[in-house]
Subunit: 238 residues, 2 copies
Amino acid sequence: MAQQSRAVVLLSGGLDSATVLAIARAAGRETYALSFRYGQRHAVELDCARQVAATLGARRHVTLDIDLRAFGGSALTADIEVPRGADPAREGIPVTYVPARNTIFLSFALAWAEVLEAPEIWIGVNALDYSGYPDCRPEFIASFEQTARLATRIGVESGTGVRIEAPLIALSKAEIITRGLALGVDYAITSSCYDPSPEGRPCGGCDSCQLRARGFAAAGLADPLLRRFGASAQEHAP
Amino acid sequence: MAQQSRAVVLLSGGLDSATVLAIARAAGRETYALSFRYGQRHAVELDCARQVAATLGARRHVTLDIDLRAFGGSALTADIEVPRGADPAREGIPVTYVPARNTIFLSFALAWAEVLEAPEIWIGVNALDYSGYPDCRPEFIASFEQTARLATRIGVESGTGVRIEAPLIALSKAEIITRGLALGVDYAITSSCYDPSPEGRPCGGCDSCQLRARGFAAAGLADPLLRRFGASAQEHAP
């Protein structure tokens, strides 16, 4: 029953989704990694996704082109400046929120899962460090799973549909890092920064860099990505 | 409050979505039409969508490229033959079903609605003539609306989110046609066929051609699209 162990894994090239891919693999899944070129200003993360998929033994890795810039509306896809040095735990939804992004990503994952007859989609959303994004909350994930059951042939015919696995949802960043290291994730080939240099050097000041730095600090570990770029990136880290 | 009257309208170039655009306009909405080049074998319907959007006064019309062929799995996007002459009312989900298509289309519409601060998305799904597609059922639409409320900034901040309007959901094809004609829809510039000629001549035998022909027959009207192509297309119609 090899079919039953298939899983589509959303892979951004960041720390969280790399960890999810490692967890899915450790759970015995045959993984199908899915990334998106969605008009984000940094292509670095897609290079990272490719390396992560190869390193962690994904059966296939597909990168889809979808032009979210046609709509604009986010600092990650439009000409709005990425904020640096802000408190990532502040109230409200940050400008780096991309409208409906996880709904779109999960919808494509659902299409592929249905074609593969894969009963699971894995996604690296995280509710504790979620940085104010509505589509990273557990209630959104549960609702999407219900919609997916009603939307698809697999849902109509099996009655259960496609499960959405979000193994990081209740973990802290430090717990995610510890878990990933135990499973052999090489975080030096992941990228978390919202606005890295073309070579992939993190800015150190955006929400995502701050959350990553605090995670490594809380785990009592050095970030191997910063080691790759020497000390300069760490200068900006809190 | 011009903002309140904005609506994103999913526009395929077919008969149903053209009617929806006309209904939204008649209801006073400022319409933003959204079409997809999703790897369908026929580009004819996108030409139709452009003409329909222009004729019915859409404020903007965006056509997004999304490559559903990367996944395959449907007669509309992969190398599977479109069935002709079958009974469209037969049991089961037809091979022309495109996995998760309406979920994907609604997700993009949601992203645009959020950027536009449009409180509504209009879609031409139809449960009576729905031809076996799970993602045309009212329970799917209701569930997507709930997911959309949880997914978005507009949902978190307004508590209501984006409404999904499906005005055709309980109408017969004949009722849709009658309604559209009363609102000035020119069905000669719409395309319903799953496998038309490059010039847009309908095959007459696929499920969609049959449902369209029965709709015009039940309404006691001639299909102006067939008039455009003379009698030959009608030869195949039931």
